[in-house]
Amino acid sequence: MSMLLVQALNGLQFGVLLFLVAAGLSLVFGVMDLINLAHGVQYMLGAYVAATLGVWTGNFWLGALLALPVALLVGLALEWLVFRHLYRRDHLSQVLATFGVILTVDEATRALWGSAPQTVLEPTGLAGGPLGGVEIVAGLIYPTYRLVIIGIGIVVPLLLWFLVERTRAGMLVRAGATHPAMVSALGVDIRRLFTVVFAFGAMLAGFAGALASPIFPVAPGMGDTVLILCFVVIVIGGVGSIRGAFIAALLVGLLDSVGRAMLPDLLRLLLDPSSARQTGAALASMLVYIVMAAILFFRPAGLFPGGRAA
């Protein structure tokens, strides 16, 4: 039972990270109708910069904080260099150009940092010390850092919801998503709006990468797996819907973690141990995609259709 609780918490924490990446992807897609496969590289860069600056400054939190402006700047640079020229192009061109960006940035990372995983400082100053945790139920100790991520992952979506639903900037973003020509005619610089949304999304993804760096290996290509899962999140949740992305991210995170832990044991009831382990592992990797296919089969526009569903 406590095993299930740990996996559920891990799933929650993974889901929250997925949401931070998916939110920017969903905004960019909803507002600009741009499929950005290269969003995952922002996540990777966030992790790399946080790891490097953390080691350099001697404090993990300082590194994570410094990763934010760096991710923002890289996002702005990429928007200016590549994505700006793709807004009016078809989805096919967007998929391909951003695919080219992935290859380039992954390779640049390999050239700069090497292929081996990076060392990351332990996040210090948390209850129970660097490696410790807090007792959440009797006899069960869970790492404090992971709880912090879950906490951040609850606060940021709330802030984001407030920003999008309750502020003037958010209103413009929502209006820009559905009626870009009208918003532009009303005197809003839609180009600048796009750039701001894009850079903001890039920063969120970089932040997610920085948060993930002590937990997942910081290695080239780490953004690609996350990116695919984020697309799954967006498509399940409904394109352009922040609420949908949040719920779908938690769903995907939980399915992935709990499935990985439970499926091999469940299959042991039906199969012999070695083949149960094998099929269990394969099924767990597939579980997310199976659920996605099923959801799209019954609700082709996702759980919360909204924004500009293409």
């Binding site: 499929i35 590549v82 096919l92 998929v95 940035v105 640049a108 394969a282 995609y289 799209l296």
Partner: protein, 325 residues
């Protein structure tokens, strides 16, 4: 006649160049192996081009059909069967069956959702193959021997294999063009341009699209079976989503409007990858930006480049006259 010839001239020249390559100094094992790989990927790209350009269906999971074809060869090899008359039809049938099942589900969606759901099925196939521990799992499987035909080692000769691949590639290209020109192809294109109107005229796009999807999958399976023979090694990486992305790239780089573009695209990508990786350690630092630039500046792809160039020259010429006067 001349218009049709001009339209296909670039593809014909490419096929002719491939036919004469072994006699023009590209006849060594390395060059032939490279060209064979390019032609096989070209076949898969032509079948994908049929979907993307013909039916407007952007599949990001086409590599899975190639992988299924390749893994069929491998599975038979592990069972000690290497007769081509059994292995090849089985590979094609397996890929077609996979496409029938996944297509029946995927084609209910459209646009971005179609891209994503084909990707999801591709990922499922990828994880399935990496769980085959008897076939090497993640590490892949080295083929014991190339497929035989009625007991003869026909495919062991690199030159024979070269012309087999070339013949099949040309067949796919001609067949695909005939298909697109047929009534079937016209319905596909009509449903791509305007689904409502196609419905109103009385054509339900779904069955046409499904048939096209299954045919493209079957060709993908054939390409996979050939690829397993060409490289004599198969691993799950063959089914990864980046592979599917690469196939799409070949289609786009070559030019979506014409099937011949896919052949050009496949050749360009394989040769570029090979030559760049020999010249540079971090060759993708050049390759990636080249891909981005090609998307930004070659909207009609390589096959449209000569026309674009001619238009540019025509546009520039009167200007110069004005300057003279």
């Amino acid at each position: 006649m001349t218009a049709a010839f001009r339209k296909h001239a670039l593809a014909l020249v490419t096929l002719l160049a491939l036919a004469s390559a072994p006699f023009l100094g590209f006849g060594d094992g390395f060059a032939l192996g490279l060209l064979a790989r390019a032609m096989i990927l070209g076949m898969a790209a032509v079948s994908l081009s049929l979907l993307v350009g013909g039916a407007g269906l952007v599949s990001l999971g086409h590599a899975a059909t190639m992988g299924i074809g390749a893994y069929t060869v491998v599975a038979f090899d592990a069972a000690g069967i290497s007769e081509g008359l059994i292995v090849f039809p089985a590979a094609i049938a397996a890929a077609a069956a996979y496409s029938l099942v996944t297509g029946a589900v995927s084609l209910r969606t459209s646009g971005v959702h179609f891209i994503m759901i084909t990707l999801a099925f591709g990922q499922m196939a990828f994880f399935t193959t990496s769980s085959f521990s008897s076939l090497g799992g993640d590490d892949g499987y080295t083929l014991y021997a190339r497929t035989e035909w009625l007991g003869t080692h026909l495919m062991d000769s690199r030159l024979t294999f070269h012309f087999l691949c070339l013949g099949l590639l040309a067949l796919m290209w001609v067949g695909g063009n005939l298909l697109l020109g047929s009534r079937f192809g016209r319905v596909l294109r009509a449903a791509r341009e305007n689904p409502q109107r196609a419905l109103a005229v009385g054509f339900q796009p779904y069955p046409y699209r499904l048939v096209a999807y299954v045919m493209a999958g079957a060709v993908g399976g054939l390409a996979g079976a050939l690829l397993a023979n060409a490289t004599e090694f198969v691993s799950p990486a063959l089914l990864s989503w980046t592979r599917s992305g690469e196939l799409l790239f070949m289609v786009i780089l070559g030019g979506v409007g014409q099937l011949g573009g896919a052949i050009l695209g496949a050749l360009a990508i394989v040769l570029l990858e090979e030559s760049l990786s020999h010249l540079l350690v971090y060759w993708r630092l050049v390759f990636g930006p080249l891909l981005v630039l090609s998307v930004l500046f070659l909207p009609d792809g390589l096959i449209g480049a000569p026309l674009r160039l001619r238009a540019a020259v025509r546009f520039a010429t009167p200007k110069r006259r004005n300057a003279d006067a």
